[in-house]
């Protein structure tokens, strides 16, 4: 009957069409996942998703879509910060607290050095200023010493006391209010000054850090020492060689920005460092904000730019290396495998 007629083109199997459409849409959803995870698991996940699909299904269900979004977010967070175990975060909060205290001590040392010069040219109460600046330098070290007791609430209480004392003295000495008048809100608001934010971030971090002394002993110090060493070297430099500001305690910002950018760059190289950086990020944001927009500060200079470039370069190295899952560098505490955290 069909002799002489061209054969009809085979019509595509509707089931195959459905599966192809569904596969294509699942691939779009899997684009949310990190590249290395997609390369390794995309076909496998599509196989699992198709195995659970209904006959004739052409679109991913809402449940699967939400679940894939949640899974992609979890994996990205795991890539950035390591496993979500509480112990890892508590260890990172302790590192953030220690770094915060060391930074606070350097701020205090800087303030003492500045006051030594300012007191010669300004008519202020020297006893009050010496007490204030030396307390700024010494109290953070006392908090570090208190860690030997291994009492979390004592350490956290001292850190909060430091924050409260700084605020009280700032009010007394600088004559500004903790809750500023509307015209003071902005870069000059004392609450936005980065030492205050740093002090608050440190206190919060130490509140979250369990068993501070035991945790400190379990840390891999060879990885943390360069960051702390850099900060202490900076503090020493401020004391002996820092240039002199014009009557404000906290305007030595650009070297601080440089040191902080370098320390942040080093921290970005490990999962524990990234977790610790997250705890200190309010202080970092505040520092950047104040450095760029504060009325007290000189314009951005070469040192600032170099620091920011160092941060950017290190961050880009981290992004390139992310695919090969560089190893944990922050801790060796119980439960860690040493593979990646």
């Amino acid at each position: 009957m069909n002799e002489g007629l061209l054969p009809l083109p085979a019509s595509p199997d509707p089931w195959e069409q459905d599966e192809a459409a569904l596969t294509r849409r699942y691939r779009k959803l899997l684009a949310w996942y990190p590249r290395d995870h997609r390369a390794r698991h995309e076909e496998e996940m599509i196989g699992v998703l198709l195995a659970g699909a209904h006959p004739g299904q052409r679109h991913p269900g809402l449940g699967d879509t939400a679940d894939l979004a949640k899974g992609a977010l979890h994996i990205r967070l795991q890539r950035a910060f390591g496993p979500t175990r509480a112990a890892d975060w508590q260890r990172a909060s302790l590192i953030a607290g220690v770094i915060g205290l060391v930074l606070q001590a350097t701020v205090g040392l800087g303030a003492m050095a500045q006051w030594a010069i300012v007191s010669r040219v300004e008519d202020s109460d020297p006893a009050l200023m010496w007490t204030f600046t030396s307390a700024l330098a010494l109290f953070p070290l006392i908090v570090i010493g208190a860690m030997r007791t291994n009492r979390r609430w004592l350490v956290a209480g001292l850190a909060w006391t430091l924050l409260a004392a700084e605020q009280a003295v700032t009010f007394t000495v600088m004559g500004t209010y903790l809750i500023p008048a509307p015209e003071m809100i902005g870069p000059n608001d004392p609450l936005l000054q980065w030492p205050t934010v740093l002090s608050a971030a440190t206190a919060i971090s130490l509140t979250l850090a369990k068993e501070p002394w035991h945790s400190l002993k379990s840390l891999r110090w060879s990885r943390i020492t360069p960051v702390l060493g850099g900060l202490i070297a900076y503090g020493t430099w401020v004391v002996f060689f820092g240039h002199i500001p014009v009557g404000v305690l906290y305007d030595e910002l650009n070297p601080q920005l440089f040191a902080t950018a370098l320390a942040a760059g080093l921290a970005l190289r490990s999962a524990t460092g990234r977790r610790a950086l997250l705890f200190l990020s309010p202080a970092l944001v505040s520092l950047m904000y104040f450095a760029f927009f504060g009325d007290f500060n000189p314009p951005i200079d070469l040192l600032t730019i170099v620091g920011l470039i160092a941060l950017a370069v290190t961050a880009s190295r981290f992004r390139r290396a992310r695919g090969d899952q560089t190893g944990e560098v922050g801790d060796t505490g119980p439960g860690t495998t040493g593979r990646r955290a």
Partner: protein, 107 residues
Amino acid sequence: MQEPTFLILTALASGPQHGYAIITEVTGISAGRVKLRAGTLYAALDRLQTEGLIAEDREEIVDGRVRRYYRLTGEGATRLATEAERLRRNAAEAVARLRTGYAGGTA
């Protein structure tokens, strides 16, 4: 240890399984109470591999797609055994107290 993690490790305790088999095993073990989806499963597998509790066992190609099998590691077996023992002790204690207290009170 969260319940989905416990159930995934339990599913792998009797031998290596591929992704979809883990999902069906978990549904079976939990009597249909826990139904894993692909996103949750692979986030958990990623984390468990990172922690060294599971490892990739082998691959097969089925219908042109890779099917990867996962197995429990020694560390994973230890963690699962520890958690199972903890749950067993808690459950035994709960049952014992119910027998002596609640059953006695209602007698």
